[in-house]
């Protein structure tokens, strides 16, 4: 399910008369979907800093060219810029087919019906957007998509919530490989650097059956696109600085390729110090990161090709010192403070305990076979190594010894077969396995919260896609088997290891109907049945969760969660004046696993701790996401989006906790893609926007299940700008943003740190990137 390049090209060259510096490139740009011409598309020759705009019939013409190698950039509203390499030896006619059913709403690209073997709707964040927000966490980037929020623990740890589902329910795939991280606990972020990706894609719909892992709560696909056929070295190098936390980021991407062999290399390094709330520093919220990835593709022969991928993610994150507390008394004291404990006057880059040190490494090999006619076969194997060390403030010089030190080794293997039965029907089938070994280092001197265990997940799926006139249908089934071999330590004395085996079998199903309504609109309905085996933390947690001030108890008798989700989307595809997308969904989950506070407390020598136990409830989650774009003029447009969500526990009819509150976003954007001069400087592409977000107070809370009432509603004002200048061989992009422009004091319901401290105040980001 790779998303291929968003704009596809078809090049037809015709031999005319070749003369020195009198060559021409001409052609026509056509909308691939509707077969209509595209006016105002820019065709630009990078070497000559010269270009033209297609006329009302989509034609363009460039003359007086010398025989040479040229890099062309073709851009059009609604498409990401695409580069093309051409060796000009003769007059050339190009027929360029841009696929133009993609829609941009507020920088979020919506991809529907992009591939014939995939009817699900994806929302995508592109490379430019990722790189312009180089110091933003993965979950906060995807939170730009309506219906997606982030669940945070402090300022350096956040995980995505997709239409109310988070944690173990959200499946994240890095270049097709299920991320075998340690995602238990809200204080564990996904182990991925977004800067290595070429795009981030979110499937909110019913369920994506093609992937191993939870298909109950949405899928995030981290894509690494590599379709270049340019033999020269291209890429970019960028630097960003942000004032809040004095963070720096360096990132580079290099790629080159031929028809036979191509590669892409990315690297990034980031460092930041204490962030600042409007009135005080947030002590020990610094971080540092160093990451790299390498993708290599090679055509072996006419039928086989191979792909090698490796990535490494290495981070150290400080956790707010004032948010790290002991028992219930400490917690109550912390609530009463205006300014958190341990707040200092001075800014610092130092990262001290409590802190997390996380490494995640992945190596993948994929072989792809195609008979160029009906069948294609994918064989993948990937090994992942995950190391997580968490350091707490400890006695006896033990602060340098991790309190938790868990390693996870996993191997993923997959065989996928795609069979084109006829021009309307595609059948995809596959078998997958993920084996993992999770091992504690017992030198921590603390009993582990997660026991040593081996897990083994095997899945089988089959998905049929059928196209009939304007309708696309998708029908899928999936079966998963999960096996855990767990070696836990008894709570009773004497402490001994107990070996136990748990197995679960789950079946899932999916139906999708995608249809064209009129000329310019699409309706998509998906109904998915999904189930998820309980995760190891839900079964076996046992101990005081430091910083959460609770004694967490797992339950080894939990059943798998079973969900039925219906999702309906309607969107317009015209780009003339007004476009919108509306998505309504309803999800019923039986045996929804939830950490529920108990009426009893546990008396330890450290004091009284509330007891939380993993319990199962039947819940209903439903909501509506809306996004729209209003084109006020050729250069000015306005985006509006809104998300509403509600969840209830069915039996007791009380609200489900940890759901985002209703939120709204409105922006006004000025964008100009041709020559423009600002303050006497000439630019080729500029963009300014002012954005306001309003997050309502979460009234749907369960007071019994929380220490404090939900924080008040808040309004934030943000601004963004970007300007590009094309030079002979390079494009220079300056970009920046101001978030929380009014330096508003606020707290967010979905941030665990709301009990202790305010969110961050004003932050100005400035960056420069050279594309070459």
């Amino acid at each position: 399910m790779l998303i291929r390049s968003i704009c596809l090209f078809l090049i037809l060259s015709t031999n005319l008369f070749a003369q020195d510096c009198n060559l021409t490139i001409q052609g026509r740009i056509i909308d691939n979907n509707e077969g209509t011409e595209l006016e105002y598309a820019n065709v630009y020759i990078n070497e000559l800093s010269q270009g033209c705009v297609s006329d009302s019939l989509g034609y363009f013409f460039i003359d007086n060219l010398c025989p040479n190698n040229y890099h062309l950039t073709i851009s059009h509203v609604g498409c990401a810029d695409v580069n093309y390499f051409i060796t000009l030896t003769k007059d050339t006619i190009l027929s360029i087919n841009l696929k133009h059913n993609d829609q941009v709403l507020d920088d979020v690209l919506i991809i529907g019906k992009a591939l014939s073997d995939d009817s699900q709707i994806k929302h995508s964040i592109n490379e430019t957007s990722i790189q312009d927000h180089a110091l933003t966490l993965l979950a906060d980037l995807t939170a730009d998509i309506p219906g997606v929020s982030s669940l945070k623990t402090g300022y350096g740890v956040s995980k995505p919530i997709i239409q109310g589902n988070y944690g173990n329910r959200v499946n994240i795939l890095n270049n097709g490989i299920p991320l075998a991280g340690q995602k238990w606990g809200t204080d564990h972020a996904p182990e991925i650097d977004p800067l290595t990706a070429s795009s981030l894609n979110v499937i909110k719909g019913a369920s994506a059956l093609e992937h191993l892992g939870s298909n109950l709560g949405g899928v995030i696909l981290i894509e690494h696109e590599l379709s270049t056929t340019d033999p020269h070295l291209h890429g970019f190098a960028g630097y960003s600085f942000e004032t809040n936390g004095r963070g720096h980021s360096l990132s580079t991407m290099l790629k080159r390729g031929t028809e036979k062999s191509k590669w892409r290399f990315t690297s990034s390094a980031k460092k930041g110090g204490d962030k600042r709330a409007p009135n005080y520093f947030l002590n020990n919220t610094g971080f540092q990161e160093i990451n790299a990835s390498l993708l290599h593709k090679r055509v072996l022969n006419s039928q086989w090709n191979a792909e090698l991928f490796a990535s490494s993610y290495n981070t150290e994150i400080g956790i707010l010192r004032g948010g790290h507390i002991g028992n219930l008394t400490d917690l109550n004291q912390a609530f009463d403070r205006e300014v958190p404990f341990f707040t200092e006057e001075e800014f610092s880059y130092a990262i001290e305990a409590p802190r997390q040190v996380v490494n995640h490494n992945l190596a993948k090999l994929k072989l792809n076979y195609t008979d160029n006619y009906k069948h294609s076969l994918n064989l993948s194997g990937a090994a992942q190594f995950n190391f997580r060390k968490e350091y707490d403030v400890r006695r006896g010089n033990r602060t340098t010894i991790p309190s938790m030190n868990v390693n996870k080794f996993s191997f993923f293997s997959e065989i996928k077969h795609k069979w084109i039965l006829n021009k309307n029907t595609i059948l995809k089938s596959g078998v997958q396995n993920l084996s993992a070994k999770i091992k504690n280092d017992f030198d921590t001197g603390i009993l582990p919260i997660i026991p040593n265990h081996i897990s083994n997940e095997t899945g089988l799926f089959s998905i049929l896609n059928y196209q009939y006139k304007k309708h696309d249908f998708e029908l899928g089934i999936r079966y998963d088997h999960t096996y855990y071999d767990v070696k836990y330590i008894t709570t009773e004395l004497p402490r001994v290891f107990v070996d136990t085996i748990h197995t679960y079998s789950n079946a899932s199903g999916l139906f999708v109907w995608n249809t064209q309504v009129g000329k310019q609109s699409v309706f998509n309905l998906s109904i998915g049945l999904a189930s998820r085996a309980p995760a190891i933390n839900e079964l076996f947690s046992n101990g005081v969760h430091q910083g959460v001030s609770g004694y967490e108890k797992g339950d080894t008798d939990l059943f798998p969660e079973r969900s039925i989700k219906t999702s309906a989307t309607f969107r317009t595809e015209s780009d003339k004046f007004y476009q919108f997308e509306v998505n309504a969904y309803h999800q019923q989950v039986d045996n929804y696993i939830l950490l529920v506070p108990q009426f009893d407390v546990i008396a330890t020598i450290r004091g009284i701790f509330p007891v939380f136990r993993y319990e199962q409830k039947d819940v209903n989650i439903y909501g509506l996401d809306f996004s729209s774009r209003l084109n006020l003029s050729k250069h000015i447009h306005s985006n509006f989006s809104a998300s509403f969500i509600k969840g209830i526990e069915v039996e007791v009819n009380r609200p489900l906790i940890n759901l985002p509150s209703n939120n709204f976003k409105l922006d006004l954007e000025y964008e100009r893609k041709e020559d423009v001069s600002v303050l006497g400087l000439k630019f080729d592409n500029i963009n300014f926007s002012l954005e306001g977000t309003y997050t309502a107070k979460q009234f749907l809370i369960n007071e019994e299940l929380d220490y404090l009432p939900a924080p008040d509603a808040y309004f934030l004002l943000n601004a963004n700008f970007a300007a590009e200048k094309k030079l002979e061989h390079n494009t220079i992009r300056c970009f920046g943003s101001i978030s929380n422009l009014l330096n508003t004091e606020y707290r967010d319901y979905l941030n665990r740190q709301r009990y202790f401290a305010d969110e961050t105040g004003i932050n100005v980001t400035l960056g420069l990137r050279v594309n070459f």
């Binding site: 064989l379 400890r394 293997s413 017992f442 330890t604 020598i605």
Partner: protein
């Protein structure tokens, strides 16, 4: 092509061998809980009568989880008397004395004494190198008769310089609670 498929199948083979052979039966020892404290004892000895001893003991025999800890009070305090107090902490499961560790890191620790009995007061008789109290040794002075509770709190990394903290007021101390135990007390 051949080298790639060779690489692929050898990786697959390696992985399968690894995961079938790496079963979950590694011979590992149950880890020791190093910082763990499950016993706190506060002993009060009358200054005018060394045989007049009152002992407050909290013991969570099986550690956190399992059975709850139990607090016991042996003896009653006499009205209008000054006692010398000694606090000790231990891990009885692994047989470790934690008091020493606290004494070594005295600047990072402070013990707080709070009571609901009117007239019962506590004073520190020890100091860390910075001149701030620790609380391993104290005096307790009773006034009139009464009954109530004493709560003993051991804080790690408290703000010893914050207002009132060196006088034994816990309000501004912050830090993390390593111990918080409550005992019944009677003054006759």
């Amino acid at each position: 092509m051949r080298s790639y498929s060779l690489l692929f199948f050898s990786t697959l083979f390696l992985a399968i061998t690894c995961f079938t052979s790496c079963s979950n039966d590694d011979d590992v020892m149950v880890p020791e809980e190093e910082e763990f404290i499950n016993q706190a004892i506060y002993t009060l000895t009358a200054q005018n009568d060394p045989t007049d001893i009152v002992v407050f003991t909290f013991l969570d025999a099986d550690g956190e989880g399992g059975l709850d800890g139990i607090s016991t009070t042996l003896g009653t305090l006499k009205a209008g008397t000054t006692y010398n107090g000694v606090a000790t902490f231990a891990n009885t499961i692994d047989g470790e004395d934690i008091t020493e560790e606290i004494a070594e890191e005295d600047e990072e620790h402070q013990i707080f004494f709070q009571t609901t009995v009117a007239g019962l007061t506590f004073a520190y008789t020890d100091q860390d190198p910075m001149g701030n109290p620790i609380g391993l040794t104290t005096t307790a002075t009773t006034d009139a008769a009464g009954t109530g509770t004493i709560t003993i709190t051991l804080r790690h990394e408290p703000a010893k310089g914050a207002s009132g903290v060196s006088d034994g007021d816990i309000t501004n101390a912050g830090g993390e609670t390593d111990i918080e135990v409550t005992f019944d007390v009677t003054v006759e």
